[in-house]
């Protein structure tokens, strides 16, 4: 485990944000299909510390009927430059036109499932 594919609707402005609640370093990697470059957030800290934010617009057409896929990978490091896959889970909610997908991770210390948090949001009007 440690990665999940999230399918986004086409032609939407998407914001991705990374947060941590951990003393270990957390790394969040969001990989869109090539040739788009991966987005990487790295950091540590408590109280949902924001470690990064980025935005992009999904293409207006895509061959996969599920939508535009982005791979979301969450890892942690105890030091020494080694990265380990975290356990992850995904949830989502919709409020009117606002859509939010949340990927949470656990690095195995305290079982609170908030060590790395990736939030992916987009409005879908009409």
């Amino acid at each position: 485990m440690g990665a999940v594919t999230v399918y986004l609707p086409l032609a939407v402005d998407t914001v991705v944000k990374g947060f941590t609640n951990a003393s270990y370093q957390q790394r969040i990697t969001i990989t869109p299909p090539s040739p788009s470059q991966p987005i990487v957030f790295t950091g540590s800290g408590e109280s949902n510390k924001q470690i990064g934010s980025a935005h992009f617009t999904t293409p207006s057409s895509w061959p996969d009927p599920l939508g535009y896929p982005i791979d979301v990978k969450l890892e942690y490091s105890t030091g020494g430059g080694n990265w380990n896959a975290s356990d992850i889970f995904t949830g989502s909610c919709t409020i009117q036109a606002y859509n939010l997908t949340v990927v949470v991770s656990e690095d195995g210390i305290d079982g609170d499932w908030n060590d790395g948090v990736c939030m992916i949001s987009w409005p879908q009007v009409g």
Partner: protein
């Protein structure tokens, strides 16, 4: 559509509160908790989830409301840089992923119907007590075994 929502938070819990803007007009989010905790206001503008405020508070151990600790959230927007304010419409939804809990309040200032003009997250984690105790016990056992191995070596 409502111009405020009341959420009920668990007691004795550390809550992280964060607000973001996706709007040209200035957004002002007002959080009015029950007694004990002072009102909180964030204000700002910007796009792509510009952070406009963050704080942490701990809910009290008891509340007169059986649903939990009540917080009322409203959002206003200003077309003239904060001289006058108009209420935005608001709505909310919960999202629980494992032990990570998130209440999201979204608002619309009636410009583009994106419902992301100002978004506010209430987040907290609640690992079950039994799990914590089990982990503590396991960690204690691991520590003891590690110490024994060290002593034998």
């Amino acid at each position: 559509m409502a111009t405020s929502v009341t959420l009920y938070l668990p007691l004795s819990t550390s809550i992280v509160l964060q607000s973001f803007a996706n709007a040209a007009w200035v957004q002002r989010v007002s959080i009015r908790p029950e007694a004990v905790i002072s009102p909180i206001t964030f204000q700002g503008q910007g796009y792509y989830d510009t952070p406009i405020g963050q704080t942490t508070f701990t809910t009290p151990a008891s509340s007169p409301n059986p649903k939990g600790f009540a917080v009322t959230v409203s959002v206003d927007h200003s077309r003239n840089g904060g001289q006058t304010w108009e209420p935005s419409v608001v709505d909310w939804a919960p999202c629980q992923v494992m032990y990570y809990n998130l209440y999201t309040v979204a608002s619309e200032d009636a410009t583009n119907n994106t419902w992301d003009d100002c978004t506010t997250y209430f987040s907290w984690s609640t690992a079950p007590k039994a799990l914590n105790e089990t982990r503590t016990h396991q960690e204690s056992q691991k520590h003891s075994e590690h110490q024994e191995r060290k002593e034998r070596a």
